[in-house]
């Protein structure tokens, strides 16, 4: 009882705090600050139709690097956290065999899903979407694979290679930015190209592709680990 009262009290005070913030808010009808600049100059500075992508990959590319790093971190931590002992490793557990429907569906869907994911990150600078979204979509494909065939053995080497190569090249592109252009992660290392085309906005599509691959690889890796670690039970 006392605990609940305390909790209510806490949440009330918190609401009071938030009210203070809410009180300071009023609806804007025009852009201000840096966003105004992005809206006006963004297009010719970065050359990406999707201004969000412009901000994510270029203006605030450093944050994006951080994001990728966080995913990478999580993957690595889970990797050594959920590592199986050798005797467990060979174990196979009897799963309830999956439904006909799921298996067939997966056979048809998975390639499509992968394709869609790739599409999403390649066009990240033009249409809604981008590396993370694409990567996530690819990972859903992997998830589907695992669901369809719980005892599937994914090829680690592929995952690792994709992951590292894309990660390293992301960094290298960043460094190239310092050497060839304005600074770390500058996308003008190659010409901006014609606005609105697929091969435009400088390095953004490349970066985003690497990001997409890396994200996809990492999430699949994590999923896989979860699946495997059941053997330990």
């Amino acid at each position: 009882m006392l605990k609940n009262t305390l909790m209510t009290l806490v949440l009330l005070v918190m609401a009071y705090l938030f009210y203070g913030l809410y009180d300071g808010y009023e609806l804007r009808d025009s852009l201000s600050g840096i966003s105004e600049h992005f809206a006006t100059k963004g297009a010719e500075e970065v050359g990406a139709a999707n201004l969000v992508t412009a901000v994510v990959v270029t203006y605030r590319g450093f944050d994006t690097l951080g994001e990728v790093t966080i995913l990478f971190l999580t993957a690595s931590i889970i990797a050594f956290f959920l590592k199986l002992k050798d005797e467990d490793f060979e174990k196979t557990i009897e799963h309830r065999d999956t439904s006909e429907l799921l298996e067939t569906a997966s056979k048809i869907l998975i390639p499509v899903i992968f394709l869609f994911g790739i599409y999403v990150f390649i066009n990240g600078h033009l249409t809604p979407g981008g590396g993370f979204q694409g990567g996530a979509i690819i990972a859903t494909g992997v998830a589907l694979m695992i669901l369809a065939n719980p005892n599937i053995k994914l090829n680690y080497n592929v995952i690792h290679w994709v992951e590292s190569i894309s990660g390293v090249s992301f960094v290298i592109i960043g460094i190239l930015g310092i050497l060839l252009a304005g600074g770390f992660l500058d996308n003008k290392i190659i010409g901006l190209g014609k606005f609105g085309e697929l091969f435009s906005a400088g390095a953004i599509p490349i970066i985003y592709s690497f990001v997409g691959l890396k994200v996809g690889a990492e999430i699949s890796n994590i999923l896989n680990k979860y699946q495997k670690s059941q053997k330990e039970l």
């Binding site: 809206a39 139709a49 999707n50 201004l51 901000v55 956290f81």
Partner: protein, 126 residues
């Protein structure tokens, strides 16, 4: 009714979600439920972020024929703030990372004590 607009509504709901999330985090004993509480909390925050980026009656910050003409890509008066949308992306990814890690922990903790009650795991105290 002044506050019936995406901005204010988003804020209010966002704050509500945050409070709900905190309630879950602070009261639920089951670790999984706590993790869920956190994702509600994060959702609330993300909602806050995007709503703060909202500008009255503007569209998504993607330059296409509907808002821009060939050669003039100044869309300052047509789009909502792109920055919060960029931030929210980052925030989501971070949230994802943390949730993944928490879940991994949850699995291991369960294996260790065959229980998900958080107050079972107080070997270290005082």
């Amino acid at each position: 009714m002044e506050f019936i607009n995406l901005g204010n509504i988003g804020l209010i709901i966002g704050f509500l979600l945050i409070i709900v999330g905190f309630w879950g985090v602070l009261t639920q004993k089951n670790i999984i439920k706590i993790i869920i509480g956190f994702s509600i909390l994060n959702t609330g925050i993300n909602l806050l972020i995007v709503s703060l980026g909202y500008v009255k009656g503007k569209t998504a910050p993607i330059i296409d024929a509907t808002i821009a003409t060939e050669g003039n890509y100044n869309v300052a008066d047509k789009i909502v703030d792109p920055v919060p949308q960029a931030l929210v992306l980052t925030a989501i990814v971070i949230g994802f990372g943390i949730t993944a890690l928490m879940l991994a922990y949850a699995m291991k903790l369960y294996k260790a004590k065959k229980s998900l009650e958080i107050n079972k795991f107080n070997d270290l105290k005082w």
